[in-house]
């Protein structure tokens, strides 16, 4: 039975984990399956609404809202623990995996949430990843120049310090954002081909001009 025929099992969440992954990978390149999945999802959605079940306790609403309130807004570009999944996401992007239904479907697995969010930032199919010198990180730049830095291994910034990103414009480093631990940081400045991006350790809150040695650099 070929992978197309996993659509029903996928819509019912009845695939084994490995199959699920294989199918989601397949979805990204198979419009036929995406369309079929949409149709089947409308059925599983009906099954969901027909599940019945008792009402939730009144406390659940406030618990969810309180937790949401305490979390970063979803627009925040820096993600904890996102670095490693983001790198595999980059590999996926490099392989031409498109963002779409398979993508958010994949995100329902808890351990893929961070990868999905990283992909939301890095998901441009035309984005290119550049290695860094001096650190385990990647600079990702979309054709439009939007850029993100995926930092895989870096100690958390010491108390009172932040990592600051710089984009060199005519050899002048311009501040392009702060982060304090490995993750994905969206740069606040566009990055053009040939431009250099660097990261230094600065005092908390950032500085106007770099004061320290670059920890790593990348050239777009």
């Amino acid at each position: 039975m070929d992978v197309h025929e996993l659509t029903a099992g996928y819509a019912l969440d009845a695939l084994e984990p490995a199959e699920r992954g294989r199918y989601e990978e397949h979805l990204s390149s198979c419009e036929r399956c995406r369309e079929e999945l949409e149709r089947f999802w409308s059925v599983s959605g009906a099954l969901a609404r027909a599940a019945g079940g008792p009402p939730p306790p009144a406390s659940l609403r406030e618990r969810i809202l309180a937790q949401a309130r305490s979390e970063r807004p979803s627009v925040v570009p820096l993600r904890r623990r996102a670095a490693l999944p983001a790198l595999s996401a980059l590999a996926a992007a490099a392989a031409g995996v498109a963002i779409g239904i398979g993508f958010w479907a994949a995100s329902v697995s808890g351990d893929l949430d961070d990868a999905r969010e990283a992909l939301a930032v890095l998901g441009d199919p035309g984005a290119r990843a550049f290695p860094t010198e001096g650190g385990e990180a990647r600079l990702v730049v979309t054709p439009a120049g939007d850029a993100a830095l995926v930092v895989r291994t870096l100690p958390a910034a010491p108390e009172g310090k932040d990592y600051e990103i710089w984009v060199f414009e005519d050899d002048v480093p311009r501040p392009a954002g702060l982060f304090d631990e490995p993750g994905v940081a969206l740069l606040s400045r566009p990055v053009a081909s040939g431009q250099t991006v660097a990261v230094t350790l600065e005092r908390e809150g950032g500085v106007d001009a770099p004061t320290g040695q670059p920890l790593f650099t990348a050239r777009a």
Binding site: A8, A11, L12, D13, A14, E16, E19, W41, S42, V43, S44, G45, A46, L47, A48, R49, A50, A51, G52, G53, P54, P55, P56, P57, L60, R61, I64, L65, A68, R69, E71, R72, P73, S74, V75, V76, L78, G100, I101, F103, W104, S107, S109, D113, R116, E117, A120, D162, V172, P173, R174, P175, A176, L186, S188, A198, D208, A209, P210, P214
Partner: protein, 240 residues
């Protein structure tokens, strides 16, 4: 790079966490603690709540993507009961069901910007999140109930209109399920409400895996035909 970066001009400015991305080349601080401490509009307007009642689920998801807490609350008011009922039906445990619903709504909160409205209704998306959480837990906890799910519990409470619609919807789906050949219905119910994988079902039912897959495929296809007429409706939105 020659080691030390060259000097920058002194045209700097106070950094703000809320500046738009790339606005006239200014630096946006991306440190999460800065943004997280930014007061959310919704927190300053706790009474907004039902003021969003006219919006579609999809519009609410768009607001949630902008961290609008009142939009999240509105979505919960619309879908929380159904979500919990689904999670409970799969998990048969109140605490685990609550966790699954919470995980799904917080997943929505964190990732609403990835929702693709052309692909599915927002409510289906959310319920898919809930279901995936629930079956993942039920498999991990090895707590599946083996009996087929016959008598559905009472529907979640809500407004009278919603309760009535949910009851009708449940009856409609049950009627459609009843029209399926027994083996197809069994495969779909055990998979969707019982949390069994295809492989587990093949073992449990003593059938080849391909047979189980075929039953699911045929069953869903037939169910869709039976439900198609009104599947695109739901009780909360009137999208064109």
């Amino acid at each position: 790079m020659d080691g030390r970066c060259s000097a920058a001009p002194r045209d700097r400015f106070a950094r703000q966490g809320t500046e738009p991305f790339g606005a006239d080349g200014r630096t946006r601080v991306v440190r999460t603690s800065v943004l997280a401490s930014r007061p959310l509009g919704s927190l300053q307007e706790p009474m907004r709540g039902r003021a969003l009642a006219h919006l579609s689920d999809e519009a609410l998801v768009a607001l949630v993507a902008r961290s609008d807490e009142s939009a999240l609350a509105e979505l919960y008011d619309r879908l929380g009961g159904t979500a919990y009922g689904l999670a409970y039906r799969v998990l048969r445990d109140e605490a685990l069901a609550e966790d699954a619903v919470q995980d799904a709504f917080l997943g929505l909160w964190r990732s609403a910007d990835s929702f693709v409205p052309e692909r599915a209704k927002a409510s289906t998306w959310l319920l898919t999140l809930v279901h995936r959480r629930a079956v993942d837990v039920v498999r991990r906890e090895q707590r599946r109930r083996t009996e087929p799910l016959e008598a559905a519990p009472e529907p979640a409470e809500g407004s009278a209109e919603e309760a009535a619609w949910l009851r009708l919807e449940r009856e409609r789906v049950q009627a459609a399920l009843a029209q399926l050949p027994d083996q197809q219905r069994e495969a779909i119910e055990l998979a969707y409400y019982g949390g069994y994988t295809q492989t587990e079902l093949a073992e449990r039912l003593g059938q080849p895996l391909g047979t189980i897959k075929s039953r699911m495929f045929a069953g869903l296809t037939r169910l869709r035909e039976l439900l198609e007429e009104r599947t695109e409706r739901n009780s909360w939105t009137f999208t064109s």
